[in-house]
């Protein structure tokens, strides 16, 4: 019975998405960048990456602003995209470009939901994912960053597709202090994982990222990429328990070690067995300040 309802909901969601005139299309820079960066690192060229990003002038300007933030390792101010790439490296600047391009999809402030907090949460989560990945020797910290950045793609879909209904769900989450996906399930009958999963498939994102988007609130359902999905889930939880939340406080206790998928991640990353969670938590303080400053300055300009 429940399965039928869920399937019906998903079916109806699919129909609604199909019927949407303005379904978010994959940002112009995302696919070519992802594709270009798949080749061996020795063959990746500064000029090509800079040209790819520079096709979108406002994106290029945002990238430069972000590249000059302490969050991305600014040592001296870069005046151009190429300068930023020379200073920070191709992958770091590509991360920045992909971040801006995806987060620009968030609709402007719409009746009580501030896109800034989703920007902050997504960017914060991306940074925490990369930091966490490095600390536990996860094989691909760059992938972890991207996964953290994209994990809430479904929130963007919901904001576009069902702004009124999503606002209702968000209000319930805020008033009851419960996780957003639980409120969405109550109010909409599906979550941003469902809608995000559909969009990620439609955008033909790599399978591991599709799983992150679709299962980051239920890593046990992940088929082939449980470790990455769990890494994002834990980082997301840490962000939501700090100031990098969705703009409201979830009144709950979280025990990260008891999260489903933890064992799978620990098998792949042995340092996790004796991990200093307290230190990572305290370190987030710095991210919080920097992310707030950066996102607000991007929005101001």
């Amino acid at each position: 019975m429940i399965v039928t309802t869920a399937a019906a909901n998903k079916e109806s969601l699919l129909k609604r998405l199909d019927g949407m005139r303005q379904i978010p299309t994959i940002p112009a820079v995302l696919a070519p960048l992802l594709h270009y960066l798949e080749q061996p690192v020795e063959q990746v060229d500064v000029h090509t990456v800079a040209d790819l990003i520079a096709q979108d002038k406002s994106l290029a300007a945002q990238c430069l602003q972000m590249a000059n933030s302490p969050l991305f390792g600014r040592s001296q101010k870069a005046e151009s995209l190429r300068g930023a790439i020379v200073g920070l490296g191709i992958h770091r600047v590509s991360d920045i470009a992909m971040s801006c391009s995806v987060l620009n999809l968030l609709p402007a402030k719409n009746g009580g939901i501030d896109p800034i907090v989703f920007w902050e949460h997504s960017l914060g989560c991306a940074l925490v994912c990369r930091r966490f990945a490095r600390k536990i020797n996860f094989a691909d910290p760059g992938k972890a960053y991207l996964a953290g950045l994209l994990h809430d793609l479904g929130v963007i879909v919901n904001l576009w597709a069902l702004p009124q209904e999503f606002r209702g769900a968000y209000e319930v989450a805020r008033e009851e202090g419960i996780p957003l996906h639980e409120a969405e399930q109550k109010v909409l009958g599906f979550t941003h994982c469902d809608s995000g999963g559909l969009l990620a498939e439609r955008w033909e994102l790599p399978p591991d990222l599709v799983e992150v988007v679709a299962y980051h609130h239920a890593p046990q359902q992940s088929v082939n990429h449980t470790a990455l999905v769990t890494l994002v889930e834990l980082s997301d939880l840490l962000c939501r328990m700090t100031g990098l939340n969705y703009g409201y406080v979830e009144k709950r206790q979280v025990n990260l070690l008891e999260e489903p998928g933890f064992a799978a991640l620990a098998r792949q990353c042995p340092p996790l067995k004796n991990f200093d969670w307290a230190r990572l938590t305290f370190e987030l303080d710095s991210y919080m300040d920097e992310v707030h400053t950066l996102v607000r300055s991007i929005y101001r300009s």
């Binding site: 690192v41 990746v44 490296g89 191709i90 930091r131 938590t281 303080d285 710095s286």
Partner: protein, 296 residues
């Protein structure tokens, strides 16, 4: 062609290598962590000590903390600087919110089936009393509501007799009361000269005793507590003493109990028996599944 990304983002790297080494030393020895955005504060604290010692560079000061014969004494002096002014009413609001909104309902649910409805809190290392009195006021606020049929007990201990004497008189200056919300100031305090004195209702709910946490056996009146607050106290203990204290906390806490430490204070490397849990803007420790006996 440039291929190698710069790995050390500023936020992940060091504004000043010596300062980061001092930060890591303080964390390793005392369990207090200064994130990058608080390094300026740490620098300021080091600066005060450097002035005292007439050292000019962080490099020299790091030597005072690590290789010179005064290192142990100096580390304690630095820790004193770090925790100075930490004691005040409503010091850690997210921690108090977690207690009220999340921890207490869980504990009350766990104890609901028991014949006697009894809640016990222990402020371990209570200094001049701000922490247990904050608790006392918070709990009094609920005495006619959800705590109506509950007996609430707050035990507060400290090693220092003078601090305890101060706590019992309960007279506080503006620094201690800087975070005190107006509601509590008006309801529970009375002016005494240019200071404030806590009134009898909130005072009488707290039982003060002298106790040394480093003693092998914890005092009998701390057995079977629901919540322990031990903020910025363990930082002064060596590792063996810390482990002993934590083991006794483990024994004293009821199975559903919680241990709260100071802001940015960690038990990493001290105890495997407790599990870190997260609340919005705060952390605490709960008892793990394994019993502590026979393990260090």
């Amino acid at each position: 062609m440039i291929t190698a990304p710069l790995e050390s983002a500023a936020i992940e790297g060091a504004p000043d290598a010596e300062l980061v080494r001092i930060r890591d030393l303080v964390y390793q020895v005392a369990g207090i962590f200064h994130p990058d955005n608080k390094l300026r504060l740490l620098l300021d604290r080091c600066g005060r000590r450097m002035k005292e010692l007439k050292t000019n560079t962080l490099h020299e000061y790091l030597e005072c903390l690590t290789v010179k014969p005064i290192r142990q004494k100096e580390l304690i002096a630095l820790l004193n600087e770090i925790t100075i002014g930490e004691t005040c009413f409503f010091r850690n609001q997210p921690q108090l919110d977690a207690l009220r909104q999340i921890v207490m309902p869980k504990i009350m649910e766990a104890k609901a089936p028991l014949p006697v409805r009894h809640l016990r809190f222990w402020s371990a290392g209570c200094s001049t009393g701000e922490e247990p009195y904050t608790l006392s006021m918070l709990l009094l606020e609920e005495s006619d509501a959800r705590l109506k049929d509950w007996i609430v007990e707050i035990v507060a201990t400290d090693l220092n007799e003078r601090s305890l004497a101060h706590a019992k008189i309960a007279v506080y200056g503006s620094y201690s009361t800087r975070n005190l919300p107006p509601h509590y100031r008006q309801k529970y305090f009375a002016p005494l000269g240019d200071q404030l004195q806590l009134g009898p209702p909130a005072r009488s709910a707290v039982n003060f005793s002298r106790a040394n946490l480093a003693d092998h056996d914890s005092p009998p009146f701390t057995n079977g507590v629901d919540v322990i607050f031990c903020c910025n106290v363990l930082i002064y203990f060596d590792l063996a003493s810390k482990r002993r204290v934590i083991q006794s906390f483990y024994r004293d806490l009821l199975p559903h109990g919680y241990l709260f430490l100071g802001h940015s204070e960690s038990l990493y490397g001290v105890s495997d028996d407790f599990r870190l849990v997260h609340f919005p803007g705060a952390t605490a420790y709960v008892k793990g599944e394994r019993p502590p006996e026979g393990r260090q």
